[in-house]
């Protein structure tokens, strides 16, 4: 196994007596694409929230790229190279696409903003060239998803955590997004929460299954998707 990038150990999170995360262990290696699946309310998004610093943990430890990050504020974690997206797409919806990207580039310390070569490549690759002057909130959902992705990649992260990257997209758009994520996978470490099994099957090198805040399985997708407990606890209920 490669060098460990994300290392979460015995992570605990409670909400008013309910254990949202119960002693969860997750390790991710550099270059690896890790999938996380589980029923609604199983704690997947909570896990991303504690890793990205939006929620504090009650017990356990999280380290990233060799340094502990639990207790640090979200912006510091972002600067350490960990970025994330949200289930509901999140961009500055009243600003233009260009301003969204410019702000992000400046936040990453790239003074040229949209003219930065890396940012321009991203714009081109994610086909946002013709939408730069549009107000972000007026874009289609798929365009917003691509903008969101462009913003995260402009930060030059070491790890991108994607919370349901194809949620709400049409079949054609999913195919397109899959192609983009496939290319992304070759250059970045990805962490993907998804309900669409196709995404997990095609993208993930390894899959972690959360049920009621507990990790019940961890392994290669083809094994996991056949695992009896997983099928009973999650896939069965999905009818997949």
């Amino acid at each position: 196994m490669n060098e460990i990038l994300l290392d979460a150990r015995q992570v605990e999170k409670q909400f008013g007596g309910i254990r949202a995360l119960a002693s969860v262990d997750v390790q991710q290696a550099v270059g690896e694409t890790l999938g996380m699946i589980g029923p609604n309310g199983s704690g997947k998004t909570t896990f991303v929230n504690v890793v990205s610093g939006h929620l504090s943990i009650d017990a356990g430890s999280i380290s990233f790229a060799g340094a502990p990050i639990s207790g640090r504020r979200p912006h510091a974690i972002t600067r350490a190279g960990l970025t994330r997206t949200y289930q509901a797409v999140r961009v500055f919806s009243k600003l233009t696409v260009a301003d969204n990207l410019r702000t992000t580039a400046l936040a990453a310390g790239r003074e040229e903003g949209v003219k930065d070569s890396h940012v321009r490549e991203l714009i081109h690759w994610l086909e946002l060239d013709r939408r730069l002057d549009a107000i972000a909130g007026m874009l289609t959902l798929f365009e917003q998803r691509r903008l969101e992705l462009a913003m995260r990649l402009a930060l030059r992260p070491k790890l991108v955590m994607l919370d349901e990257p194809v949620g709400g997209l049409s079949a054609v758009e999913i195919t397109h997004m899959m192609k983009l994520l496939g290319e992304l996978k070759t250059r970045y470490s990805l962490f993907v929460i998804e309900h669409t099994m196709r995404v997990i099957r095609e993208l993930a090198d390894r899959v972690v299954v959360l049920v009621s805040g507990q990790k019940i399985a961890d392994g290669r997708p083809e094994e996991i998707l056949r695992d009896e407990r997983v099928v009973r606890n999650y896939l069965g209920s999905q009818g997949a």
């Binding site: 939006h54 972002t78 961009v91 702000t103 936040a107 003074e111 086909e127 013709r130």
Partner: protein, 338 residues
Amino acid sequence: MNRMRASKDMWLWISGAALVIGLALATAGNRFAAFIIGIVFLNVLWTAGMNLLYGYTGLVSMMTAGVAGIGAYGTVKLFLDYGWSFWFAVPVSAVGAAAVGVILGLPALRLRGFYFVLSSLVIQVALTLVFIYFPQFTNGDTGITQIPRPGLWLPGFGAVDLTGPGFEIILGLLALAGVAVVYMIIRSRMGAFIIAIREDDLLAEELGIDVTRYKVMVFFISSLLMAVGGAFYAVYTGFISPRSFDVLMSMNIWLMVAFGGRGTIAGPIIGSAILVPIPFLLQELYQIKDIFYGSLIILVTVAMPAGVYGTILKWWRVRRQKQNTAVAPVAIKRMPAE
């Protein structure tokens, strides 16, 4: 491109300076009109600070008058009781007032939305009480009267008379400088960040922007502008009392920004220029002043959330877009090729 912008900006500021000097000189013969102009200038400075805070960062602070009051009382204390030069007392007390403002406001800055508004309101009320109940510093609710205008000695000019239009010119240049500070901040990295904070502070933080740090910086800078304005207000009008810096003043400054157009450079200037003279010119109607202001607040919030200038800008943008559409229709979303 950048050089072009810089030179265009330079011309803008020079004509701005010419405009304020011209206004001050034009009203030199009429001390009443000059006074209105002077108060408008002060309010332009105050609204510039409020605009940075509310218009660009999205923080509705109700304690701005209190901070201006600290600047004013501090300056007057140093100037009159300790015999400092006014020009030295202003920066010292302004930095002091801004520091006090930040220390008081710091815990509140962690709060979001309405809770920040309310905390700042409570702090404002408490500051007013401090102004009233610490008469050894403030002379209590009767106020401090007969504050003299400072003298000024400029190399090359010698002693400058500040009892006439000289002071209005200084106020005008000060206002211009305040607006320029805000303009430069908005053009900078920091500007992009605070706008991001206004739009979505969680997302801003997620993108690696230290939200708290920028909020504190903005709060400090705007407090500085408020406090400087307060100090000049004291010597310009010659009188300060707790009521000069009460919550109604905070609200009025907010109203000028909202009415003129938040988050635009010109909006608050327009707001000040329209709203400040009204109570002075309609003195006979002083009784309905509160009703007028209250109605205006509601009107702006309900019907014109972008303010006068913001509404004009929007209308202009829509018009331009329509023209553009006529020339080259915006392409319908292009499906990327496999």
